[in-house]
């Protein structure tokens, strides 16, 4: 099976969807001639032409708003945010327009809004954020964040084919650092399905994005102490896959939730609540979380490293729940 980087897998998924369905088109800043700030859409303009690969003005509200309009009348737009931090400008279009169309008047808004998220590259407070929590609170949206090339390709295809608005977050730290086997041709990773990336019986780690890789490292370290960790990659954040989450935690009785996003109001809180409500009597230890602290993400390397959850912190948390 061919081995691709995470970035190449996204590109291949987008490419195949554009080949398959002529209603699919791309719009965003510097995505055509330049091929995108991170080169995800390199070569698309040459293959698909200016009508389907649109270089737009710097107008995130217009990019998303226009995507919504085009989607309402039958097209399948994929909008790029140059950095996901800039999605805040399109917040209103997403949370008030896109998310509420189906509920209010039964209209489908099959858009995908994708872009690079996350830290680790010293991007500073405005080029490193994780924005899922802002949208996690909005019924009507779906949110996915792949961690592997296989999932990246399968999820972009699922997102494009989905009949509801999907936010697709790509972790920029993984773009060129993570490689993996990716089948040629068509396959889908269903939205709403988590994936057990490492089976284990003692402790469950629930995570996604870059933190999947840190969690797998932590699981490897802790295995030498005889603690078998099950690592669940959420992949879809909205809607959460309760079945996979709850059955894993019911089995191990111990859960650590790991996310790169900040703590208060982060997704970990909601997951812990669901565990508490549904399978409390299976728990052997309190559910704990490893997250970034409640601050903006700082720029300078020592500060950023301190801010980001590290493998050692995950190891400590797993040890703590295992020995509780």
């Amino acid at each position: 099976m061919p081995v691709l980087t995470y970035l190449e897998a996204i590109r291949q998924g987008l490419w195949e969807e554009m080949e398959r369905d002529e209603r699919v088109f791309l719009l965003g800043e510097d995505i055509g001639v330049y091929g995108g700030a991170f080169k995800v859409t390199e070569g698309f303009l040459e293959r698909f032409g200016e009508e389907r690969v649109i270089d737009t003005p710097i107008s995130e509200a217009a990019i998303v708003g226009a995507a919504i309009g085009a989607a309402l009348v039958g097209l399948r737009p994929v909008a790029e945010m140059q950095f996901i931090d800039f999605i805040s400008i399109a917040f209103d279009q997403l949370t008030n327009f896109a998310a509420k169309c189906r509920y209010r008047w039964g209209a489908a808004v099959p858009i995908v809004v994708r872009g690079p998220c996350g830290g680790g590259v010293h991007g500073g407070p405005f080029h490193s954020q994780n924005v899922e929590a802002y949208f996690f609170h909005t019924p009507g949206l779906k949110i996915v964040e792949p961690a592997t090339p296989y999932d990246a390709k399968g999820l972009i295809k699922a997102a494009i084919r989905d009949d509801d608005p999907v936010l697709y977050f790509e972790h920029k730290y993984l773009y060129r650092r993570i490689r993996g086997e990716v089948p040629e041709g068509d396959y889908i990773v269903p939205i709403g399905k988590a994936d057990v990336k490492r089976p284990g019986r003692d402790v469950t780690i629930l995570t996604y994005g870059w933190m999947l890789h840190k969690s797998l490292e932590a699981a490897e370290i802790i295995a030498s102490e005889g603690i078998e960790v099950e690592v669940v990659d959420l992949r879809t954040l909205l809607p959460l896959d309760d079945e996979t989450i709850l059955s894993s935690v019911a089995k191990t009785g111990r859960a650590v939730i790991v996310h790169e996003d900040t703590r208060t109001g982060g997704i970990a809180g909601e997951i812990a609540m669901r565990i508490n409500e549904r399978i409390f009597e299976y728990l052997e230890a309190p559910v704990v979380r490893v997250t970034a602290p409640d601050t903006p993400i700082p720029f300078s390397p020592p500060l950023e490293e301190f801010f980001l959850p590290q493998v050692e912190e995950i190891v400590q948390a797993v040890r703590w729940v295992a020995n509780y």
Binding site: A61, I89, H122, P293, P298, F299, S300
Partner: protein
């Protein structure tokens, strides 16, 4: 009525332009040596408009720069060590490593730092101008926007708001040909950004951005109107971005002829020619100024290089006026971890 510049003022502006260029050249070397963290955004070719517009301000006025306005910061008192430490992420930087590049400032110094999100400064600077008016002060607010940045909703909302309230706001719109890889004609369907002024009912003017005297005088006119209560000005400067968007970008998409055209109109060379032709300076003057700048840069760079990186604990500080206790999981404590690491 044109405000004439004295020879001293012209040489002052020359100093700031040259300082900007030499600091950036130094940054470029540091960038290649891997000594700066993150990207490097140059203002090569745009030093003139940044310096001349800021030079037109007076004490008590407010300035908010964008990425290509390093020169404006120098005019308002910023020193090279602040820039070097910001780019290196040092603990002695104005933000103590929390933010980078020209993202720093202080209200006392009249410097409002940008966020990365283009356009957002314009409503904020309208607010500064509003407060000036409400507090019966003379201060004006001046900020910049790129040709690309004018496509944002915030640009429109901020200008319209300032227009309706007749606020003392000056927006310098920098037409430098490109927004990242996107040429101006894909950003707007008009030739001159200043044409938008009429739609807001405010003053608009387009000047040659590489002619520092023209930029200075146009900014003075805008400031005078602002202080007289005649409202905002959209002042467009025609210039050119002579490097890529940032140093990682070799700008292959910019036609060579355009660069050659603008190279001949370099603002520093033009000011040198002017000064020589008017008998206000000669090569020795320029060499002396350059030599002085080089010494200043060396001293400031040494300080920056010798400065320590920030203490990790700083990451947790300053989110609120008073630090709330940090919510930690029972399994790990960042506070104790810092102690363990240090």
């Amino acid at each position: 009525m044109e405000e004439a510049l004295t020879p001293k003022q012209l040489l002052d502006m020359y100093y700031y332009m040259k300082l900007t260029r030499l600091v950036e050249e130094r940054l470029q070397r540091l960038y290649r040596q891997g000594k700066i963290v993150g990207g490097l955004y140059r203002s090569l070719g745009q030093e003139g408009e940044s310096v001349a517009s800021a030079y037109a301000l007076e004490e008590g006025d407010f300035l908010a720069v964008m990425i290509r306005n390093l020169g404006a910061l120098f005019v308002r008192g910023v020193r090279p060590w602040e820039i070097f430490t910001q780019y290196m992420g040092k603990g002695t930087s104005p933000t103590r490593g929390k933010d980078n590049i020209v993202h720093f400032g202080s209200v006392e110094r009249g410097l409002i730092p940008p966020i990365s999100h283009l356009g957002d400064l314009i409503p904020v600077m309208a607010g500064i101008a509003l407060a000036s008016k409400m507090q019966r002060k003379r201060s004006v607010a001046l900020t910049y926007i790129g040709d690309g940045g004018t496509s944002t909703g915030a640009f429109h909302e901020g200008l319209n708001f300032a227009a309706v309230l007749k606020l003392p706001l000056i927006v310098i719109a920098e037409d430098n040909g490109y927004a990242y890889s996107t040429p101006k004609h894909k950003q707007m369907a008009i030739e001159n950004i200043a044409d938008r002024a009429i739609g807001y009912g405010i003053f608009g003017e387009t000047v040659d951005g590489n002619d520092v005297i023209a930029v200075y005088q146009a900014t003075r006119r805008a400031i005078r109107r602002a202080r007289e209560g005649l409202g905002p000005t959209l002042l467009e400067v025609k210039t050119f971005r002579m490097r890529g968007h940032a140093e990682h970008d070799d700008a292959w998409y910019v036609p060579r002829e355009l660069l050659e055209y603008w190279q001949k109109r370099d603002p520093i060379l033009r000011l040198e020619t002017y000064l020589k032709e008017h008998g206000l300076a000669d090569e020795t003057t320029f060499e002396e100024i350059t030599h002085r700048i080089e010494q200043e840069i060396e001293a400031d760079l040494r300080y920056a290089e010798e400065s320590p990186m920030p203490d990790p604990q700083i990451a947790l500080e300053g989110v609120y006026a008073e630090s709330p206790s940090v919510s930690e999981s029972p399994s790990i404590s960042r506070e104790s971890e810092v102690k363990a690491r240090s």
